[in-house]
């Protein structure tokens, strides 16, 4: 298996900025751990694991951005926020990033704070905010759910990519001068395209899960009247 995904690697952003973002990420993850612990019941635990595995797999699809030499890939923050909620969702993405950094050398270990801030925190938070908003505004139909998943996924990817631009502006090791706006534009443009792909994958997955096992979709829990007793899953869809 040749993995070509790549997050911010060592040396792209300078040490002090990386340290500040590491502290920020640590504080935010602590909150997520405290809140997520309450969410993580018998149904969510395997789901969180599978969401993390799924994100791990899709992050290996990588699209190079030739003009700037940066590459982009699917993030999965919206999928996580949709299926396991914002707290556990952010933790899932963070776990993926930690494991990738530790054993795949994907993204520098010293840059983990930056990567977690962009992809796990910014991406998931933006996605969940959009999901919460759109689910209230849009009609409660399959189409409404699909649009919610698609838009949340697409925009969260763009937001996460702008996190990198912000960090590069604060502590990039090379001064790009006026090219920073160019970097922002390239990142936003390419991640909009990636976001469309991510939106399609997220919408298809969420729709299928919502159709067969609506009880598994975290984002739909609050909107639902007390659910009917669970049907045992043994021998479900086989």
């Amino acid at each position: 298996m040749q993995t070509l995904a790549m997050h911010i690697s060592n040396g792209i952003i300078d040490g002090p900025v990386a340290a500040i973002f590491a502290a920020l990420a640590l504080a935010a993850l602590t909150v997520c751990v405290l809140r997520g612990r309450r969410d993580l019941d018998d149904r969510l635990a395997p789901m969180a694991g599978l969401v993390a595995a799924f994100i791990f797999a899709v992050q290996m699809l990588n699209f190079p951005i030739f003009t700037a030499g940066v590459s982009g890939h699917l993030l999965g923050g919206a999928l996580a926020a949709m299926l396991v909620g914002p707290w556990v969702g952010a933790l899932c993405v963070a776990v993926v990033l930690v494991v990738q950094a530790l054993i795949f050398g994907d993204g520098g270990v010293a840059m983990l704070g930056l990567n977690i801030t962009n992809m796990a925190l910014l991406g998931t938070a933006a996605a969940y905010a959009l999901i919460a908003l759109l689910l209230r505004v849009l009609p409660r139909t399959r189409a409404g759910l699909a649009v919610t998943a698609f838009v949340a996924a697409m925009l969260s990817v763009v937001v996460a990519s702008q996190g990198f631009v912000l960090q590069y502006w604060l502590g990039g090791t090379t001064d790009l001068g006026g090219n920073l706006a160019g970097l922002a534009g390239t990142m936003a443009g390419v991640h909009l395209l990636i976001g469309i792909g991510e939106g399609l994958i997220t919408a298809t997955t969420v729709l299928t899960v919502a159709k067969v096992r609506p009880d598994l979709v975290y984002a739909l829990r609050s909107l639902r009247a007390p659910a009917a007793p669970l049907v045992p899953v043994a021998g479900g869809v086989r």
Partner: protein
């Protein structure tokens, strides 16, 4: 299920590095990487010294240079970014081979190349000498919150479930007359991605229920925790690499 065994990057061996407890290796690798990143980029000799350290550990772990270097290609996308920097950067320009390049950009490119490569090599060495099970036990012993180790355990466990289900669905498609070639395989795959997720979940849920019924409480068995935890001596042995790296970084900082 391959959870207890190695992953694609694991190299089965019985070297001194393989025998070190995982928590020690993780800590050493993290400290080493931070030392590398903290080194000023003009201190070229320091990066040479780090490379010697990495080579020494690789030799101890019996990991061949060819394996390491071919796996290090993962950082290729960011090397491309480094190549672009001398052209995009601002500030003083220098003539190199008839091209007017930004000096700051050249330094930046070197910075990314050197630090990125050393970081990738360090994590490859960790991956080559540590199984996924050990990695999670190590994180647990380093007091990583249990929610995180739990998600990580399931993630690594379910990766195999996911790959297995994808393979089964592909066989099912082909045996029903689908004949995908090249990129068109993607169409069938994309159409089935929701079903794949659901199938993997229901399989994964059964795995989870089976674990619960065998006494799983959210933490890996207590036997794993106790057995082979690092002794003070092992911490000392493994500390040599990060301590050396930190002193190199400190020297470079003082000299610059």
């Amino acid at each position: 299920m391959g959870a207890g065994h190695g992953h694609v990057l694991y190299r089965e061996s019985d070297s001194p590095v393989h025998r070190l407890p995982p928590e020690v290796k993780i800590a050493a690798m993290v400290v080493f990487t931070i030392a590398v990143v903290a080194t000023p980029r003009e201190a070229f000799w320091a990066f040479g010294a780090y490379a010697v350290l990495v080579a020494a550990v690789a030799a101890l772990a019996r990991v061949g240079p060819r394996w390491l270097l071919s796996r290090a290609l993962i950082e290729l996308p960011f090397v491309l970014f480094a190549v672009a920097l001398p052209f995009l950067g601002t500030g003083d320009r220098v003539e190199v081979l008839g091209l007017r390049l930004s000096e700051d950009g050249l330094h930046g490119a070197w910075n990314i190349l050197a630090k990125g490569t050393l970081g990738v090599l360090a994590s490859l060495l960790l991956a080559a000498t540590t199984t996924t099970r050990d990695l999670i036990v190590g994180l647990d012993r380093l007091h990583c919150p249990q929610v995180l180790t739990q998600i990580a355990t399931f993630m690594l466990r379910y990766l195999d479930v996911l790959v297995g289900e994808a393979r089964r669905m592909r066989v099912a498609r082909i045996s029903r007359g689908d004949d995908p070639r090249f990129l068109w395989q993607l169409r069938g795959f994309a159409a089935g991605i929701g079903a794949l997720f659901l199938r993997a979940f229901e399989r994964g849920e059964r795995v989870y229920l089976a674990m619960l019924s065998r006494g799983y409480t959210g933490r890996m068995p207590a036997v794993w925790q106790g057995e082979g935890a690092a002794s003070a001596g092992q911490w000392l042995v493994a500390a040599t690499v990060p301590v050396l790296a930190a002193s190199i970084a400190a020297t470079a900082l003082v000299l610059s």
